[in-house]
Symmetry: C2
Subunit: 260 residues, 2 copies
């Protein structure tokens, strides 16, 4: 396949039908003229549409343009060894894994930045950024052609960029969710439903559409309200919540310095 | 006014036309049969509808059923001294201030749990919880009658409950927003637009409608992926982001213990 020429349809085999695999597969199926899903390798048949060819024997993987390993991070390296003799471009979908963990001839990644969960019926892929990488321009173009069928937001990252973006995603997603968990527990222990905080949380996120988070920061630390800060810390300490008090302190210190 | 009997309309004077005041006033105006806005005391005329009587002279405050001090936390105590001879139920709208900071005869609070900003045109008040407190049942009923015109979510809090709820709100709102700020800066320093993270952030919050944050936690700490954790911390340290690395560590430790 020559650089820049779109092969139509692109032939794909997906390995894995977990959170990422399942949603990739349903999205691929929406574009039968552009993407031919040649099969899915999976150990669980549970949630796949019946018309998708299931592959159980690793010796019978059909040829394709791209093999997509939508597997757990910690099994990808070993699993890739099954494909080490293949000439097919083989990519993982991980935000974390370096390319050299793929023991294949032509390697890359195809990383959709979203926290997928099987229970959710559908995502708006047009909103989801997909990050791609490969070892040469030809493979990159092939991945780009596939990704652009799903979303206009396709990015080629430099290797350092991807790592730091994943750190940023940990703060934006995992750590913000921990803040919600701590809030949830504080509410529950005071016999208040967590739901009361939802309008506030939604408002915080809605602001991000129009303002940078730095500009929309509010709260005791932002307004240098040391009385409240001291009272909150004492309240946490007196309730035996020492680790929450420690987190309160370190985040408040960060904010006080940020808005000094 | 006897307990339980709804006086109609309830007469109100609002002091302050900042973030909270402005939105209270516009909401009150939607129910002219139920709420009579007798005036607004404000030092800035900027953003008020023309048909609201403006009060500038503190000696000419009209009588009403409720005076609402929608002022900054740190001025409420002093300001309330202007009303110390009044027989009118006087409430503040603060999530923080204890009742005894009000130097008035009949005191209470009327605290809508939302992070209001003037720039936003309108809020869905039916979703906003309003917390009320007063010193006797009669005043509480009066506040409850007013609050229930705006939202079905009206709660009477015990004094300890309100303090801890405010701590919870700091985690859910202020600290989660700080996580977005740190993510924003990491993205920007790596020449990546923060917007790329928005679908992920929205998904995190959307899950809260159906799942507890504890159940929907994801990420390296949740899956005990110590390789990634170590790599992320090193990446932050090597970029001179020592305080971000410290926050990464303390939050990751918390998560590792939570899901042990």
């Amino acid at each position: 396949m020559a650089t820049g020429i779109i092969k139509n349809p692109i032939e794909v085999v997906v390995f894995g039908s977990g959170n990422v695999g399942k949603h990739l597969i349903s999205e691929f199926k929406k574009y039968p003229d552009k993407i031919r899903l040649k099969g899915v390798w999976t150990r669980t048949f549970s949630n796949l549409p019946r018309d998708i060819p299931i592959i159980t024997d690793l010796k019978k993987i059909p040829p394709a343009d791209i093999y997509i390993l939508a597997l757990k991070d910690d099994v990808i390296e070993n699993f890739s060894k099954n494909l080490s003799h293949s000439e097919v471009l083989t990519v993982h979908t991980s935000g974390v894994l370096p390319l050299d963990k793929l023991h294949v001839k032509r390697k890359g990644y195809f990383y959709p930045l979203q926290s997928f969960r099987k229970e959710k019926k559908e995502y708006d892929w047009k909103e989801i950024p997909v990050f791609i990488q490969a070892e040469n321009e030809k493979d990159l173009n092939l991945l780009e052609n596939l990704a652009k069928i799903l979303t206009p937001k396709v990015y080629r990252l430099k290797s350092g960029q991807k790592q730091m973006m994943h750190v940023a995603a940990v703060f934006a997603n995992n750590f913000s969710n921990l803040m919600f968990t701590i809030a949830h527990d504080l509410m529950q222990e005071n016999k208040l439903p967590f739901d009361l905080l939802l309008p506030l949380i939604k408002e915080t996120v809605e602001r991000l559409e129009n303002f940078s988070p730095r500009d929309s920061q509010t709260g005791p630390a932002r307004r240098k309200d040391t009385d409240t800060i001291v009272r909150h810390m004492a309240l946490l300490e007196n309730s035996g919540k020492h680790r929450e008090a420690e987190i309160y302190k370190i985040l408040t210190d960060y904010l006080l310095k940020l808005y000094r």
